[in-house]
C-alpha cells in the first residue's frame, strides 16, 4: 500500500515536473525552473537566530536583538543571492554520440552566462563539480556509464548549488531530451575475420566457402610466395612447385551472420559481430550483415558501419 502511494506520488511529481520543466535541448534558468529551500545548515542558522532572539528578549539586550534581526536580514539577502547564483544561465546540450557498452557516455553541456557562477554540482554518475565559471561560454562534460545495449534515454540531471553561503539548496532538473543507441561491447574474434558466410537455408547451399575469394588456377612458385599456398599434392610428383592462386573479384563481398558465429549467448554473438563489422570497416572490406530480424546487403563506408552497429544495438 505504502509503496503504491509513494509510486503514485512519484508519478504525480514526474508529471508536474514535466509540465514545469518540459524536455528541451536547451534551458535557460529562471524562476520557473529553479527550486530553492533552506538547507539543513540554513535551518540551523534560523534556530540559532531564534536562540539569540530568546536570549535578547529575556535579558532585554537591544544589541543581541539587533544582531538577531541583522542575521535574519542577511538570511533574506543570501536567499536572493543563492537564487541568482543559478539564474541567468543558459544550458544547451549537444547531441550524445553513440558508444559501446562499458564506455563512457559524455554529454556536452554548454553553459552561457554573463556573470560568474559558483559551486555547480551535477548529479551525473561521477558527480561532476564545477567550482567557478567565468562569464561567457563554457563547456561542461557530464558522463554516465553505458551499461546496457540498446536505446538509452538521458534522465533528468539534477544541478544543484549551495553557493554562496551554504544556507540554501538551489537546484533544478533539466531534461535535455536526449537519447542515444548503445552499441554492443566489442569482443574480438579474429577467426571470423574473413566472414562467416551467410546462412542461406532457402537456397540449400550451406557449405559455401569463403565468399568473394575465387580460385583462379595454379602459378609457378616464386621466392616470397607464401608456403601455405603451395599445392603440395602437385609438388609431390612435379619438379616445380606450384602455388594456388586466388584473386579477389571487383565486388569482393563477405558476410557476417548471427547464425554462424559461435558464442554462449546472444549478447556475446552480437558483441562479436560488432567487432567483426568494425574490423572489416577498418580493413576496408565490403561486408554484409545477417541478423535474425534484418539483412544488410554488403557495402562499405561509415554510414554502412553505423547502420550495422545500430541494427546490432536494436537487436531484440
Amino acid at each position: 500500500m505504502l509503496t503504491q502511494v509513494s509510486k503514485w506520488r512519484q508519478l504525480r511529481f514526474k508529471h508536474w515536473l514535466n509540465q514545469r520543466i518540459p524536455a528541451a535541448n536547451s534551458l535557460s534558468l529562471n524562476k520557473r525552473n529553479i527550486f530553492i529551500f533552506p538547507s539543513w545548515a540554513g535551518l540551523a542558522y534560523l534556530a540559532v537566530s531564534l536562540a539569540i532572539f530568546i536570549l535578547a528578549t529575556n535579558y532585554e539586550s537591544n544589541l543581541s536583538l539587533l544582531l538577531c534581526y541583522w542575521l535574519l536580514a542577511l538570511f533574506l539577502i543570501l536567499l536572493y543571492l543563492s537564487y541568482f547564483n543559478l539564474s541567468g544561465m543558459a544550458l544547451s546540450a549537444s547531441p550524445l554520440k553513440p558508444v559501446h557498452v562499458g564506455d563512457r557516455l559524455q554529454l556536452e553541456v554548454s553553459l552561457q552566462s554573463n556573470k560568474k557562477h559558483f559551486h555547480l554540482n551535477w548529479l551525473d554518475e561521477v558527480n561532476t563539480q564545477i567550482k567557478q565559471t567565468s562569464p561567457g561560454r563554457e563547456i561542461i562534460k557530464l558522463s554516465w556509464n553505458a551499461k546496457r545495449r540498446g536505446n538509452w534515454v538521458l534522465p533528468r540531471v539534477k544541478l544543484f548549488s549551495q553557493a554562496p553561503s551554504g544556507l540554501f539548496n538551489v537546484w533544478t532538473y533539466p531534461d535535455f531530451n536526449q537519447q542515444v543507441l548503445i552499441y554492443p561491447k566489442l569482443i574480438a574474434c579474429p577467426e571470423y575475420a574473413f566472414g562467416t558466410g551467410k546462412n542461406t537455408t532457402k537456397e540449400g547451399d550451406l557449405n559455401q566457402p569463403l565468399q568473394g575469394v575465387d580460385f583462379q588456377g595454379l602459378k609457378n612458385y616464386q621466392k616470397g610466395d607464401s608456403l601455405s599456398r603451395v599445392a603440395w599434392k602437385r609438388a609431390s610428383f612435379s619438379q616445380n612447385w606450384q602455388i594456388k592462386h586466388f584473386e579477389q573479384t571487383q565486388d569482393q563481398q563477405i558476410w557476417f551472420s548471427i547464425y554462424k558465429v559461435q558464442a554462449d549467448s546472444i549478447e556475446e554473438k552480437l558483441s562479436k559481430l560488432a567487432w567483426l563489422v568494425t574490423n572489416a570497416h577498418h580493413q576496408e572490406i565490403t561486408y554484409g550483415l545477417q541478423l535474425s530480424h534484418i539483412e544488410l546487403d554488403p557495402a562499405q563506408g561509415e554510414s554502412h558501419l553505423k547502420m550495422c552497429l545500430e541494427q546490432l544495438a536494436k537487436h531484440p
Partner: protein, 668 residues
C-alpha cells in the same frame, strides 16, 4: 531520483584562517568575563589545526588528540566549581568551539563552528555594549560568515570573500535597523539566571582612601541631560547614598537603611515626598552598568519611573541590579527642605560614635564647644580650621595610623574628600550635632554637541550633611574649604595634571590642553552617547513614539496599510540589492555585452550572421561585401576589442578602449 550530495570538500587554508580570526576576537571577549584557560585552549587547538598547512609532515598523533579532549573536559569541570551556571555554559561552548576547530575538516564542522560563534557573539553583547566593542564583534561575525562564502565560492582570497561579505552585511544593515525599530517588543519570556560581574564604581563601604583610589579611573559613571537650563556644575552634587555607621575606620550603611533597601526590592515602591517646592528641574540620567542598585540624582529627587524608588535618605534606588546601561527620568526640587521621613530615628542613627576613641580630637572639640555659643559658630570654627591650617587635598593620601581621626587632624593633614567629610561628620557627632556622610559625584563635563553632562569615576565625591531642627538636613562640603577649585572647576584643576590620572598615561583626559584631542574625545563621547540613547535604550515606549511620529496613528486600517507598505518596500529593497550584488559588473561580463551588442547590430542592420565558432575578425570578409567603410570600422572595432580582451591594461586604458568600442558600435 537519487539524491547524493557531495559535501565533503577539503577546507582551504584561507577558510580556516578566517574562522580562527573571528573566533580569536569572540573568544577573547568571552574570556574577559570568564577564565582565560579556555582561551588558551582555543589558541592551542587553532595552532594544531593550522600547523599542517605550513608543515606538511605534521600530523597530530591519536593519543595527543585524546589528551586535548581530556584537557577540555578538565577545563569544563573546573568551571563548574564556584561559578554561576552562565559562566559554565559559556566555558562549555568555548571548549566545544575549540575542539570543532581542531577537527575542522569538512563543511559540516565549518558550519557548526560559525553557528556557535554567532551565539557566542550574542552572549558577549550582554557584557560589551560600548560602540567600539559592538563594531568589533559585528566585524567578527562578518569575518566568520565570509569564511563560509570563501568555502562555497572557492575564492581562496581573503580580500575578495571579506569584501563581498561586507557588501552583503552593509546592505542587510538598513533592513535590520528597520526591523529593530518597528518589530513589536516582547517582555522577557521567562526568568534567566542573572548576569553577574564585579560591581563597579562607588561601593557602599568606604575606608579612608577608597574614593581617592576610585578617582584614578576615567571610566564613565553616568550621563545626564537636562530639559531646561542646567544648574551650575558647582551645585551638581549627585547624591548616590548616605553612610551613617562609623567604626573608626569604615563608614557604612546603617542597618535601618539596609532594611529599607531589602523592603523596596520586594515591594517595588518607596517613599513619597511631600512639601516639594518649585522650581522643578527635569532631566534624564543614563547610568553605566554598575552591577549595583544605586542611582544618581540631585536633591531633592523624585521619579515616576517604574523600578526607580526613593529611599528615606533622599537617594534613588533601582529595584533591579544594573547589568546594562539604564535610563531614568528624574524631577528634582533644589529649593526643597530635606526634612526627614522618620524624625524619631535621627538622633539615634546620626550621633553614633565608634568604640575606638580619638582622645586628641575629643579634647579639641570639647575646647571648641566651650568657645562657641551656637552650633553655627562651632561649625564655622571647624571649617576655618580646615581652611587656615596647612591641610592638603591629594589623590595619594598617606595611610592613617590608628586612631585615624587623630592622625589625620593633627599629623598627616593630607586627604581626599572622604577624609574631610568623614572627619567633619565625626567632629559634628562629638559636638552633639546629628551628621552623616553622603557619597556621590560632584560636577560633570558638558558636551555641547550632545547637550549633556558626562560624569566620570574621578568625579566621585563625599560630603557631609548635618541635621538642624528648623532647616532639616543641610549640606556642608568641607572639601570646598580645603580645595575650592575642586568644587568650582573639577578634579583636574584641583590637583594639577601631573597627579590627575597619574597611572594612566594614555588616557585622552591627560591631553585635554590640546584642542584637537579634546574635540576628538568629545566627539567619541557624543557618538557613544547617541549610541546609548538610540540603540541601547530603545524600548517599547520609544518605539511607540517613533511610530507615532512616522505614521501618526498607531492603530486602524491606515496604519496597517502603511506598515504593510513599509514591509513590502523592505522586501523589494532586498530584491534589488540581491540583484545588484549578483550582477555586479566584471570586466569579462562587460566584454561579453560589448561583443553581443556588436554582433546583434551587424545581424539586424546588415543581415550578417555570426556562425558558431567564428571569431569577430572572421566577420570582416562579410562586412567587406557591404561596404569598404563598414569593413574599416569593423576592423578598428576588432583591434580595440582584442586590446581589451588580451592586453594587460590599467583601469584608465581599459576605459579608453571600452569607450572607443562603444563609439564604434554606434557608428556601424
Amino acid at each position: 531520483m537519487k539524491q547524493r550530495q557531495n559535501t565533503s570538500e577539503p577546507i582551504l587554508l584561507s577558510t580556516v584562517l578566517l574562522v580562527c580570526a573571528a573566533n580569536l576576537v569572540v573568544l577573547f571577549y568571552q574570556s574577559l568575563e570568564n577564565h582565560f584557560n579556555a582561551f588558551f585552549f582555543f589558541l592551542v587547538c587553532a595552532a594544531v589545526r593550522l600547523a599542517p598547512f605550513f608543515f606538511p609532515q605534521f600530523k597530530l598523533k591519536r593519543r595527543y588528540e585524546i589528551s586535548l579532549f581530556i584537557i577540555a573536559l578538565i577545563i569544563i569541570l573546573t568551571s563548574i566549581i564556584g561559578k554561576d551556571i552562565l559562566a559554565t555554559l559559556f566555558t562549555l561552548l568555548v571548549c566545544l568551539q575549540s575542539l570543532t576547530i581542531l577537527r575542522l575538516f569538512s563543511t559540516r564542522e565549518l558550519k557548526t563552528c560559525v553557528w556557535v560563534l554567532l551565539f557566542l557573539v550574542a552572549a558577549n553583547l550582554l557584557f560589551f555594549f560600548e560602540f567600539q566593542n559592538v563594531v568589533i564583534l559585528f566585524m567578527a561575525v562578518i569575518v566568520a560568515l565570509s569564511a563560509l562564502i570563501n568555502h562555497f565560492c572557492n575564492y581562496n582570497i581573503y580580500k575578495e570573500a571579506v569584501s563581498r561579505m561586507i557588501n552583503i552585511a552593509l546592505l542587510a544593515l538598513p533592513v535590520a535597523v528597520i526591523l529593530f525599530l518597528v518589530m513589536p517588543r516582547l517582555p522577557p519570556l521567562w526568568k534567566m539566571p542573572k548576569v553577574e560581574s564585579q560591581s563597579r564604581g562607588l561601593q557602599d563601604k568606604i575606608r579612608f582612601g577608597d574614593i581617592a583610589e576610585l578617582s584614578q579611573s576615567s571610566n564613565l559613571a553616568f550621563r545626564a541631560s537636562f530639559d531646561g537650563q542646567p544648574p551650575k556644575t558647582s551645585q551638581m552634587y549627585w547624591r548616590s547614598f548616605v553612610l551613617q555607621n562609623f567604626d573608626g575606620n569604615i563608614w557604612q550603611r546603617s542597618e535601618y537603611m539596609e532594611s529599607w533597601q531589602k523592603l523596596v526590592k520586594t515591594r517595588r515602591s518607596g517613599v513619597q515626598w511631600k512639601n516639594l517646592q518649585a522650581p522643578a528641574v527635569n532631566y534624564q540620567v543614563i547610568t553605566e552598568a554598575s552591577y549595583q542598585n544605586w542611582l544618581f540624582a540631585l536633591d531633592l529627587a523624585t521619579s515616576r519611573q517604574q523600578g526607580v524608588i526613593s529611599l528615606p535618605d533622599f537617594s534613588l534606588y533601582s529595584s533591579e541590579t544594573l547589568t546594562q546601561k539604564f535610563r531614568y527620568q528624574v524631577t528634582s526640587y533644589p529649593e526643597s527642605q530635606l526634612t526627614d521621613f522618620d524624625n524619631n530615628q535621627i538622633k539615634q542613627l546620626n550621633l553614633q560614635l565608634p568604640n575606638v576613641a580619638n582622645p586628641k580630637t575629643e579634647q579639641w572639640v570639647k575646647a571648641l564647644k566651650q568657645q562657641s555659643t551656637t552650633d553655627a559658630e562651632l561649625i564655622q570654627a571647624v571649617l576655618n580650621y580646615f581652611n587656615q591650617q596647612d591641610f592638603y587635598y591629594s589623590l595619594k593620601p598617606e595611610v592613617l595610623e590608628s586612631p585615624k581621626i587623630d592622625d589625620f587632624l593633627f599629623n598627616t593633614r593630607t586627604g581626599f574628600c572622604e577624609h574631610y567629610a568623614g572627619t567633619f561628620t565625626y567632629i559634628m557627632r562629638l559636638a552633639g550635632i546629628p551628621a552623616r556622610v553622603v557619597v556621590g559625584y560632584l560636577g560633570g563635563e558638558y558636551n555641547p554637541a550632545g547637550d549633556y553632562f558626562s560624569v566620570y569615576q574621578f568625579d566621585a565625591h563625599a560630603w557631609a550633611e548635618i541635621w538642624q531642627a528648623d532647616k532639616g538636613w543641610v549640606r556642608i562640603d568641607p572639601t570646598s574649604y580645603v580645595a575650592p577649585e575642586r568644587v568650582e572647576f573639577n578634579l583636574q584643576q584641583a590637583i594639577g595634571n601631573d597627579e590627575f590620572l597619574a597611572e594612566r598615561d594614555f588616557s585622552l583626559f591627560k591631553y585635554d590642553q590640546f584642542a584637537a584631542i579634546r574635540t576628538m574625545r568629545m566627539l567619541i563621547s557624543n557618538l557613544d552617547y547617541q549610541w546609548t540613547l538610540w540603540v541601547l535604550n530603545y524600548d517599547a515606549t520609544k518605539q511607540k513614539d517613533l511610530l507615532k511620529k512616522l505614521f501618526g496613528e498607531t492603530s486602524g486600517l491606515a496604519f496597517t496599510l502603511k506598515l504593510a507598505f513599509l514591509i513590502l518596500g523592505l522586501f523589494s529593497f532586498i530584491f534589488v540589492v540581491g540583484w545588484l550584488l549578483a550582477h555586479k559588473k566584471s570586466p569579462q561580463s562587460q566584454l561579453q555585452r560589448l561583443q553581443q551588442k556588436a554582433t546583434q547590430k551587424l545581424a539586424k542592420k546588415y543581415q550578417i550572421q555570426r556562425r558558431q565558432g567564428q571569431t569577430l575578425r572572421q566577420l570582416k570578409r562579410q562586412t567587406q561585401q557591404h561596404s569598404e567603410a563598414l569593413a574599416q570600422n569593423w576592423q578598428t572595432f576588432c583591434q580595440h576589442f582584442e586590446q581589451l580582451e588580451y592586453a594587460p591594461l590599467s583601469q584608465a586604458q581599459f576605459k579608453i578602449h571600452y569607450r572607443a568600442c562603444q563609439q564604434l558600435i554606434k557608428q556601424l
